[in-house]
């Protein structure tokens, strides 16, 4: 279909756009590697005290920590993906330009964010993860099918992640200040995605709750697929379910927003 090529071009643009920021990418790789080392030693200490915390052994905890660093910018866990641009465009009125084009707003931004995510996985994710695998013992699968299953879970995680952030960004049509939304999303993102601690390590009933929220589809599910802790189909169903709900909610909010749209500025 003709529009498939359009969104492919948008995604390619999103990819190349981030590829132009070489210094930022290098700095990101460095930060994620350093954070990974700190987090790994924290986890090692914690798992020494509480072996099998959350059902993970030490190598699994280490794997989880490195995976978190690898997917941190890919899934824009604390924000800073396409939604950041979208928020700015709504606030300044630049969104006007997007609205008079014959393209679907949500698909456009989804494509652009996926392009960004793929770049950040390759540009920022692979190196810290490889570093972790070289210098620490990790629980990595030996068979190619598990790796493929893992990549599918990551792709679904990208869509869920976008779904959450798109909803947040559309709030800008009603709010004129993005700080509240951005900060809330950041805290929820870091905490509920399991960036600080795997979600299965939280005590119940709290653990059960966070594991059923959409953020669990981001890091926890791909990690469990990679380490064989969950059947891929179970993970996919959970992720796809949230993806559909979030994207549908995004559509609704988008049509409400554009119907009452007030485009800012001359």
């Amino acid at each position: 279909m003709g529009s498939g090529r359009l969104y492919a071009a948008v995604a390619a643009g999103g990819f190349r756009r981030y590829a132009t920021y070489r210094a930022a990418t290098a700095a990101g790789v460095f930060t994620n590697t350093v954070f990974g080392i700190i987090l790994v030693y924290t986890y090692l200490a914690l798992w020494d005290e509480r072996p099998h915390l959350g059902g993970y052994d030490q190598t699994q905890a280490v794997t989880y920590a490195w995976l978190g660093q690898a997917l941190y910018s890919t899934l824009a866990i604390q924000g800073g993906g396409a939604e950041k641009d979208l928020m700015a465009r709504i606030r300044t009125g630049e969104i006007a330009v997007d609205l008079y084009r014959p393209a679907d707003l949500q698909l456009w931004w989804l494509a652009s964010d996926l392009g960004r995510a793929v770049f950040q996985m390759l540009g920022r994710g692979v190196i810290p993860f490889t570093f972790g695998a070289l210098f620490f013992s990790m629980a990595l699968p030996q068979d190619i099918t598990t790796w493929v299953a893992f990549l599918v879970a990551v792709a679904l995680a990208m869509i869920v992640s976008f779904g959450i952030r798109y909803l947040a960004a559309l709030m800008m049509f009603w709010l004129m200040d993005d700080r509240g939304v951005t900060q809330t999303m950041m805290i929820l993102g870091i905490f509920c995605s399991g960036m600080t601690l795997p979600l299965n390590a939280f005590p119940d009933p709290f653990g059960d709750i966070v594991q059923s929220l959409p953020w669990a589809a981001q890091l926890q599910m791909p990690a469990n697929v990679l380490m064989g802790e969950v059947s891929p189909w179970h993970a996919y169903a959970f992720q796809a379910g949230w993806a559909v709900v979030l994207l549908a909610a995004g559509r609704l909010l988008q049509s409400a927003a554009t119907r009452r749209v007030v485009v800012q500025g001359g």
């Binding site: 330009v97 014959p102 500025g265």
Partner: protein, 319 residues
């Protein structure tokens, strides 16, 4: 008619914080019942002071703002209801914004337009070549947009708006911030576009030279109301402007008296300045002065369009 605007209004609800948890609601009538039509192939200037409602009108014509009242049609389409369908037939340039992809080379944005508007390959190539030539974009295609100068970016934006052969082009301040040479290039291009291709153009600007050089028809809006719609020349009459007859007499004399036909606005030695309505012929006045005074030389000064518009804006503000 290609564009039909009939009693269109736009009222903004503005909420303002007046204290802790206290908000005041106020309504701003940005466009207040305006009507006009534009025929296919016309090139119309749309002017007015800051905050008059020009951009709001253009946003309604593109469909990104829904009118609060009235009827609006572009090519028979209700813009806000069928924005996407209309999008294929219009081109838009907001001078203060850009459609181009900031971090990527200019050509990438054009490739995106190619896909977005589903432009047939040969049309795309032809239009791009033409824009590149006329807007002198040749050396810029591989340059990231953020590295372009304002004038280069604006030319890039104009090209982006035209690749899909729109029937109408809305330009909201396309010459803002451009130097004389860039302005001339843009004007030349627009004249070509309208003349050769018959593209309908609606042009908003604060630079009256844009209008003088491009548009035979001008619409003036102020406080959301249309205060003038007609030929550029007619603005002088509508604005109550005056021409000046400068006469050199043989010697210093008291101010010339010709009744209500003209009034003396300045005397400097033997030279006197007489103001008379711009719509009236100078011949009668000259004959009368020549018959009654020792006339040596004379000249007529045309009113300045800027002054006319300024007076028009000022009158409305105090009215």
């Amino acid at each position: 008619m290609f564009i039909e605007v009939d009693g269109v209004e736009k009222v903004f609800d503005v909420r303002r914080k007046t204290g802790f948890l206290k908000r005041e609601r106020r309504q701003v009538r940005a466009v207040d019942s305006i009507s006009f039509t534009v025929a296919r192939g016309e090139m119309v200037g749309y002017i007015g002071p800051n905050g008059a409602g020009k951009s709001t009108t253009i946003k309604m014509l593109t469909g990104i703002l829904t009118p609060s009242g009235g009827r609006l049609r572009v090519a028979g389409i209700d813009p806000s209801r069928e924005r996407t369908r209309l999008a294929h037939r219009i081109g838009v340039v907001f001078g203060q914004r850009t459609t181009l992809w900031w971090d990527l080379p200019l050509i990438d944005s054009y490739r995106l337009m190619h896909r977005m508007y589903r432009i047939p390959d040969d049309r795309y190539r032809e239009n791009l070549d033409r824009c590149v030539e006329l807007l002198e974009l040749g050396g810029l295609l591989e340059v990231p947009v953020r590295q372009l100068s304002l004038g280069q970016r604006m030319r890039g934006d104009i090209a982006a708006a035209l690749l899909h052969d729109p029937e109408v082009l809305y330009l909201d301040e396309p010459t803002i911030g451009l130097d004389v040479i860039s302005k001339a290039k843009v004007r030349e291009f627009l004249r070509e576009l309208n003349g050769e291709r018959g593209t309908t153009v609606l042009l908003t600007t604060h630079d009256l030279q844009d209008i003088e050089q491009l548009c035979s028809r001008v619409m003036v809006i102020d406080h959301g109301r249309m205060v003038y719609d007609g030929a550029l020349a007619g603005l002088h009459e509508a604005g109550g402007s005056e021409r000046i007859l400068v006469v050199d007499l043989e010697r210093e004399l008291p101010p010339i008296e010709v009744g209500s036909a003209a009034r003396v606005v300045k005397v400097e030695g033997p030279r006197q300045w007489l103001a008379f309505p711009a719509g009236e012929s100078a011949a009668g006045l000259v004959a009368r002065v020549a018959a009654e005074y020792p006339l040596v030389d004379l000249s007529v000064r045309e009113p300045d369009i800027e002054a006319v518009i300024a007076r028009m804006y000022a009158e409305k503000a105090t009215a």
